[in-house]
Every structure is written in structure tokens, then in C-alpha cells.
Amino acid sequence: MKLKKLEIFGPVFIIIGLLISRYLFPNKITFFTEISIYTIFVMGNNILMGYMGYTSFGQPFYLSCGAYAAALYLAYLGGNVFVAMLFAVLVGLLLSLILGPSLMRLKGSYFTLINASLCAIGVFMFERLLIDITNGNDGLWYRSNMAKTPFLDIRLPQNYFFFIMFVLLAALYIYRKMDKSALGSILKASNSNPRKMRFLGYNVFRIRWLAYTISVVFSTIAGSLYAVNFGFVNPSLGENSRAIEVLLATLIGGIGTVYGPFFGALGFLGMKDFVSSWLSRWEFVVGIMTLVVLFKFNRGLWGLIQDTGSFIFDLSKKYKKESIKTAEK
């Protein structure tokens, strides 16, 4: 029981863990920033994949749309970083308003593949169609346009790290709230038995659309955070090959859970970082690791942590009981 009560502090623990590791490995700060942003991106995918059972090969499209929304704002319209992020959220809402109705009527692999084609169309759009404003493959640079922000100048990487910690904390609590509220159960229920949900009087299509919207907005926020972090964007952010990475990260973390995305981002990026510092060919090792996770720990890293946690808790309880018994004797 105690262990469950501690769960509410989960997001705080994650943030504290990140802050400690930031000071333990000061030269890895960009890596921790990236993990945090990637967590938000994986969260978006997890809503579709874990809660709704929709596999999307197009998450990088939404990521790059968010990134380009923020980038274009910063490059041409103004210098306020927060407005740029808000702009990215608006773009996300607009995207899901336009695409949602037709996409959420598709099923299974069709949804997957339509999203994949969105990815390709996105790259095409930012690389060729809008080349006049996006500079195509050369990328768009706007760091000098970014204005100083009050209290904390987030243009500096060390300050940006704190800002990201704040955003991640908020995102985790919102996510947790969503999972614990009726919405989480409704999403999962309409995945496992949509017909029954209809009989219960739910509009399953609208539920799916809502989930899609949340997912898109999370992705565009992650995109805008990337854009501000790097100070430049290029079309490769939305490439198809990245779609698989986010799926892998979601699975590695443990799908359909609140903290899975964080551990997925940590596990996947960590693995990639670690492997590529030893070997130039990370695909081989990452492939094997993913197979191991899929077959041996099918609840992902978070599931593994939960299991070991409860195992240790049970052990300690047993130990306590025994020590009480011996004391009584």
C-alpha cells in the first residue's frame, strides 16, 4: 500500500533524478535535455499506441510541424520564445482539426501507413514546397532572433535545462492526471471494446479524435522545444526513419503507462548513446535489445522497475514480520 502512495511523487522523483545526474555528469547536459524533450514526444505517441492501440508511423511529422511552427515564428514574426511555443500548440490543434476526422476513421495498418505518407509529404513540404521560407535542406537559423526571457534567460543551455525540467514536471503531472481520471479508462476501454463503448453511449469516434489531438499537441510541443533548444531546424527532423525510433522507445518504456515514456526515452536514447560511443553500428545492438525487451520484459522498463520495486517491498515486509516474530519470542 505504501508503495502505491509514493506513486504521486513519481514525477518529482524523475525530475530530482535528472537534476542529480545533470550535476553528476555536467558535460552530458544536452543529453539530459534531449531525453526530457524526447519523453514528451514519446508521451504523445504513447497515447495513440498504448492507450488507443493505434500505431502511427507519422509522429515525426507532427514533431517537425511543431518545430517549424516555432522556428518560422522566431525567424519572421517575433522573438518571444513562449509565443513561439504557443504558436506550435495552435498549429497542433489546427492539424488535428483538419486531419483528425479522416485519419481516425481508418483502422490498423491503414492508419499506420497514412501517417507514414504524411511524414514523407511533410519532408517534401519543408524541403521543396516551402523552400522560400524554410531554406530547404540548409535549415532555418534564428538563434540571434530569440529575445531574452524574463527571470531565466533560457537561451543559455544550462538555464534551458531548468526550463525543460519545469515543462517536463508539468507534462508528467498532466499525463498522470489524465491516466487516473475517467479519460484514461475511457481511452483504454474504447481500444479493447469499441462496440461496447458505443452501447454505453460513448461517441467512440470523438474519443479517438480527442486522443489524437492530445497526441499531436504533445508532439508539436516537443517539436517547439527542440526548435528552441537547437536554434535551427531542418527537414530531417520529420524523416520516416525516425518514426520507428519513437515506437521502439514507447515499447521499451512500457506501453500504456504514465512513466513508461520517460524510461523509454531514457532507455532508448541512453542505449543509442552508449552503443554508438563503443560501436559505430548501433542498429545491431539496439535491434537485439529491443527483441530482448519485447520477449522477456513485455511490460517494458517501467514494468521491470515496478516488479523489482514490489519484490523488494515484499521482501522487506517479510523481513519486518519475521523480526517482529523473533522479538515476540
Binding site: 499506441m49 492501440g53 500505431t55 479522416s102 476513421r105 481508418l106 483502422k107 490498423g108 495498418s109 491503414y110 499506420t112 501507413l113 497514412i114 507514414a116 505518407s117 504524411l118 514523407a120 509529404i121 517534401f124 521543396r128 469499441p194 462496440r195 467512440v204 520516416n240 526513419s241 520507428i244 515506437l247 521502439l248 515499447l251 559505430s280 553500428r281 542498429e283 545491431f284 545492438v285 539496439v286 535491434g287 537485439i288 529491443t290 527483441l291 519485447l294
Partner: protein, 291 residues
């Protein structure tokens, strides 16, 4: 006028290669209802084996045979050790599992051959004149081979008793087994044939592109589009879709170069929104989902 005609012939040869490669995906779905992304490995390995054999012996024909054999062998190993264990799992799971296998395969290729792209010389440099238009004979040979492969598969599926057992097995696996048919062996045989075609596709495509570790990755989405556009599980659909896409890539690319890459995606996007089951797909459950 001549440019268009050339584009159409080139388009047909692209279709041929697309068809050979997509067959493994199409049959993998048709037989086991799984999306076997690792099918692109047979294609890449086929191309690399062709490169090795051509470098060693100078014979492209031997290379193509070797490619088909290695494709079939890999298909056999993957089907018997992995796919059979996961075919009843949900779509997402099998997709990620087969993709992991694909990544491992890319790692193996990088380990053996390194990262640099390898060139394979075109085996036939003869140019044929067709109605005053110059066409490389090699392109025409690809078209003929792909057409023969299509006929072979259609006869195998519809005319032979093995094909009938296969179709019955897709309809109801247990009942066929109950009659005493070793359905696993038939499934494996069919899958191996499809994998061998993918390997052959790799061999045929090797002189046209650079042979590199990520060539399967580049082809994956196009093969996917072919299968989805044609309708899942329909071999005829796969054939028609590859014909359409070959023209979109080549004729479209002649009109405006970027269309060669983005055209197939746009065609699929529109088709799926209008007819979600693809051109020849049967109405019913899309895989993994009951709703």
C-alpha cells in the same frame, strides 16, 4: 513524345522490381496476417550477394541465382524460428519484432560489408531500338522476369493442389490440419518462394542503384505502399499497385522531379482516404483490429 515512352518503359521495369520485392510482404500478410518488415532484408542481402558473386566470378547470372537462394534461405530461417511464434500476436508487436530483426540484419550487413555503397556493373549494356526509341535491354529483361514471377505465383496459388491447400489453410488453418495436411510446411514453402523473389529483386535492382546498408530501408516504405495500395493479401492487387506506382515514379518524375519520391505517398494517401481497403482488398477487418 520519346521521353514519355522511355519513362513508361522505365516505369514498367520499376514496377517489376517493386512487385518482386513487395511479394514477400504481401504473402507474409496473406498467410499469417503479420507485417513482416524484415522482408526488406532479403532484398538487401540479395543485392549484396550479387555484388560479392559478380566481384568474384564476374557472372551476373550466378549472382542473381545466389541472391534468390540467400533470400529463400533467410526467409526459411526467419519463418521457422520467429514468425511462426509471433503470428497470433497483435499487429504492433509483430511489426516491431520484425523491424528489430531488420535492424539486426542492417547491423550484420554493416559488419560484413562496411558502410560504403558498392557499385554493381550492369550485366547487359545492349540498347534495343523500339519504334525509334532507345531502351536498355536490361530494363526489358526485368519486366519479363517480373511478369514470369507473377504468372508463376498465380498458377501456384490457383491451379495446383498445394495452392488450394494454402488457400484453404488461410481460410481455416485447423480444419486443413485436421485433414492431415502439413500446413506449416506449405506456408513455409510459399514464404520461402516469396523471399527468394525478394532476393532476386535485390539482384536485379543492384545495377540500377548503389548497393548500401540502408537500401532496404529506402525500399521499405515503397514496398509497404505497394501492398497497401493493392489491398492487403491480394497478389493481383500488389501487381496492379506496382504497375501504378512504377508509372507514378517515372512518368511523374519526368514531369517534375520531386514527384518521383513524394508521388507514391500522395497516391496512397488519396486512395486510402477514398477506398480504405486498397484497390483489391476485401472488405473486413484490417489486421489486428476488430472494430
Amino acid at each position: 513524345m520519346e521521353t514519355w515512352f522511355t519513362a513508361i518503359i522505365y516505369g514498367l521495369s520499376t514496377s517489376g522490381i517493386l512487385f518482386l520485392i513487395s511479394l514477400a510482404l504481401s504473402i507474409g500478410y496473406g498467410l499469417m496476417r503479420i507485417v513482416n518488415m524484415e522482408a526488406m532484408l532479403y532484398y538487401s542481402f540479395g543485392a549484396y550477394i550479387t555484388y560479392t558473386i559478380v566481384t568474384l566470378t564476374g557472372s551476373f547470372l550466378l549472382g542473381a541465382v545466389g541472391a534468390a537462394l540467400i533470400g529463400g534461405l533467410l526467409g526459411f530461417i526467419v519463418e521457422t524460428t520467429l514468425l511462426r511464434k509471433v503470428y497470433h500476436r497483435n499487429m504492433m508487436f509483430t511489426m516491431v519484432v520484425t523491424f528489430s530483426v531488420f535492424m539486426i540484419g542492417i547491423g550484420v550487413i554493416q559488419f560484413i560489408y562496411g558502410l560504403d555503397p558498392k557499385p554493381v556493373a550492369s550485366p547487359i549494356s545492349t540498347i534495343v531500338r523500339l519504334m525509334n526509341i532507345q531502351i536498355p535491354l536490361y530494363r526489358l529483361i526485368i519486366i519479363v522476369i517480373a511478369a514470369a514471377a507473377y504468372l508463376f505465383i498465380q498458377i501456384l496459388m490457383n491451379k495446383t493442389i498445394t495452392g488450394k491447400a494454402l488457400r484453404a489453410g488461410i481460410e481455416n488453418r485447423e480444419n486443413v490440419e485436421g485433414l492431415g495436411v502439413n500446413i506449416n510446411r506449405i506456408f513455409t514453402t510459399t514464404f520461402v518462394i516469396a523471399s527468394a523473389f525478394a532476393g532476386l529483386g535485390g539482384a536485379l535492382n543492384a545495377p540500377l542503384v548503389m548497393v548500401g546498408p540502408y537500401m532496404g530501408f529506402d525500399m521499405l516504405l515503397f514496398a509497404f505502399i505497394t501492398v497497401i495500395l493493392g489491398g492487403l493479401g491480394s497478389i493481383k492487387g500488389t501487381m496492379v499497385a506496382s504497375l501504378v506506382l512504377g508509372q507514378v515514379i517515372n512518368v511523374g518524375g519526368t514531369i517534375w522531379a520531386p514527384l518521383a519520391f513524394v508521388g507514391p505517398f500522395i497516391v496512397m494517401f488519396i486512395t486510402i482516404l477514398i477506398k480504405p481497403t486498397g484497390l483489391y482488398g476485401v472488405k473486413g477487418t484490417a489486421f489486428g483490429f476488430n472494430d
